[in-house]
Symmetry: C2
């Protein structure tokens, strides 16, 4: 079968399977998820064998140690994948939920019922754990999923999917509920992105290049995550010890992720008091600081920040630092240079806390807490399929509920329109 025909067939089968998935009892979904978790552990030898083929190819192709590490299915990674499926089983089932109903003057009762999206396409790179995480989340939300991972993980992904499908079948879930596309060319992605009749949404997970490619070629709606240029603003009234702890955590605890701080904004009134000990702590952790002119009058030895530093997503131990005149300038800076991802204020001022929460148009806005909490698990969604930096459908961390939509349901007693 040609790649084009394979993908068309996969998409059609997914649409068929989605009809079954939409009406699965919650108990069936949960038992299946628990069975999948067990099967991943029991099939460890088989999975590692498939994974070894990918790792060998990756070594031959000269991939970096970091990439090979991400690709490798160790016992720890397999246990995490199994735990994740068990956690998804414990989440509430969003499908069928009706939050409220209202009565119309003509006696109609109207409500909105939560329903699955239908068929979800996930386009991702290297990490094979995404295969089981995404499959589990989509199953819980009643969706069929089409997984298109990278060529470097294709044997691992196919082996994982086969195990999940086998467990699904034991619970009368069609194998087409979880499908991996075996063709890993970019052309295959392009074909997939045309099938708006069969696929309801595409979620790309990977670098900005991959995401821009998907957005440019897709007729299907895309939920996307470009980048995280996150800020902490230390206000004049901040508890400076708290501000130091939060800023340090936001930058240093895991610098390579999208919710790490990239720019620190400091109120002029406390800058000369706050910055020197803060800089010392950062420098001890190996953080390179790049400052605005005013910052550099206080921290004389640091590099000057260029215009490009204010929009940089370093994902590294580098931090841009700017002194601002107050809340207005801080918010204006965040709006101008930020990426609408995650921003935090450290303050003791009630009005400034409220204004920051309301006026910063980012997907997660915090008061007196680290930007690192912008994460589905940390915010209490129970799981995360990704973080959306575009506003349509979902904005910010996405859990199981964000893999559903709503339909109107109407109870009548013979009403007609006049």
């Amino acid at each position: 079968m040609s790649p084009k025909n394979e993908i068309l067939q996969v998409a059609r089968n997914a649409r068929e399977a989605s009809r079954v998935l939409a009406n699965l009892p919650t108990s069936t979904k949960n038992l299946t998820l628990e069975g999948m978790a067990e099967a991943l552990i029991q099939s460890a030898p088989k999975l590692k064998k498939a994974n070894a083929m990918d790792v060998t190819s990756a070594r031959k192709a000269g991939l970096s140690a970091a990439m090979i590490d991400r690709l490798t299915l160790s016992d720890r990674v397999l246990q995490e994948m199994a735990n994740s499926l068990k956690e998804i089983a414990l989440l509430p089932d969003p499908v069928g939920e009706v939050n409220k109903m209202w009565k119309r003057p003509n006696g109609l009762w109207v409500g909105k019922m939560r329903i699955p999206l239908g068929v979800i396409g996930i386009i991702y790179e290297s990490r094979p754990n995404v295969t089981s995480d995404a499959a589990g989340l989509c199953l819980k939300a009643g969706n069929a999923v089409i997984l298109r991972g990278g060529s470097e993980a294709i044997h691992s992904n196919l082996a994982i999917a086969e195990i999940l499908q086998r467990v699904g079948k034991e619970h009368a879930i069609p194998a087409e509920a979880i499908q991996v596309i075996s063709t890993t060319s970019r052309q295959a992605v392009k074909e997939m992105l045309q099938l708006e009749e069969y696929i309801d949404v595409i979620i790309p997970r990977g670098g900005e290049d991959l995401i821009r490619f998907v957005v440019s070629h897709s007729k299907i709606p895309v939920i996307k995550h470009y980048k995280g240029v996150c800020h902490v603003f230390v206000d004049a009234t901040a508890d400076l010890e708290m501000a130091q702890t939060i800023s340090y955590n936001a930058k240093v605890q895991r610098p390579g992720v999208c919710n790490a701080m990239e720019t620190l904004l400091v109120h002029r009134e406390i800058a000369s008091q706050f910055l020197p000990p803060m800089a010392e702590k950062f420098q001890a952790a190996g953080v390179e600081l790049r400052g605005c002119p005013e910052t550099r009058r206080i921290l004389k030895s640091i590099k000057a920040a260029q215009e490009a530093d204010w929009t940089a997503e370093y994902l590294d131990l580098i931090l841009a630092v700017r002194v601002v005149a107050g809340l207005d300038e801080a918010i204006a800076h965040i709006i101008r240079y930020g990426s609408s991802h995650t921003d935090s204020i450290v303050t003791r001022d009630y009005a400034n806390a409220q204004r920051f929460l309301r006026e910063v148009p980012s997907s997660t806005v915090l008061v007196n807490a680290s930007t690192r909490f912008s994460d589905g698990f940390e915010l209490g969604l129970g799981a995360e399929i990704g973080i959306s930096t575009s506003k349509l459908h979902a904005f910010g961390p996405m859990g199981v509920e964000e893999l559903t939509t709503t339909k109107f349901i109407v109870y009548g007693s013979g009403q007609i329109r006049t």
Copy 2:
């Protein structure tokens, strides 16, 4: 200025204006909407003069009487536009709403706050009343709007926008909150659809051709409405008088709209009792019936339905009729041939009513009521910006709330991630 530069400038200005709009007090928005309603009435002579230019061109271009009728700004149409703005003023303001907050084990309080989408692009045809309706809805939801109407209504649209902008300015709302693109070429639409940095969502309103063009060319998320192939299923236990009233209303009351019934499904057990008097009523109203073989054994004189009839959106006094073995076959038919728009069951059976509501995956599903209620006003949204037949972000009729999204807000007391 070249069309490309004009549109880029418009989009940038809209983004700037959206910052102001997002933080407008509710009272300012409502007073502005009321002022706009008054100004439309007071400026009737000016508006009619601009409109006359469009109508004259349309006559010269040989447009149909129906199209010229839709284009014409009569006193009645102007009054409706004003009333619509007044009604929007009375709606609750969705911006800033936080439905619930939850506490995390580490003491963080987390909630989701409703915020504007930002900048909304509306691409539409002929009816100039869309200009004020869409502008009013976007303003209420705190969004800037870019309106790109058809060339046939350009003078009317520009005149309406000018009046709305003037009233806005009196309330310190930037003129760029409501902008009409003066270039009416398709190329201008293409340029607009590239500006994902400045425009958050595109809502096309018009024929299927226009919508497919927009979806094919857009990098910006599109909320789209393809077509409405709506069904009424008359179950074996239906109150046949109610079934007749509902079916008649769904087909005849306004056949040219998307929520009119296109296919009638009848349970075999009551077909021979229900169909003859129903057919008589339809035929008296000038409805052409096209039946399946079983229907034609009961209604001998009607045309045979072809396969294409089951997917047809007639928007006319034509109706496809099919006899089915029961609920399962009715639901299967709707899933196979329908357009996920609006479907209704007439029944006295409790279990069938519930199954139909749950299992039919359409954006509006009704029991014992006409499909014609699938409409933002009728369902109690207070207004309607359009009906979405795709599942992402919104599914079904969209009101003011659907022109917003949510962000996470987090109240901390110094929490960091460990």
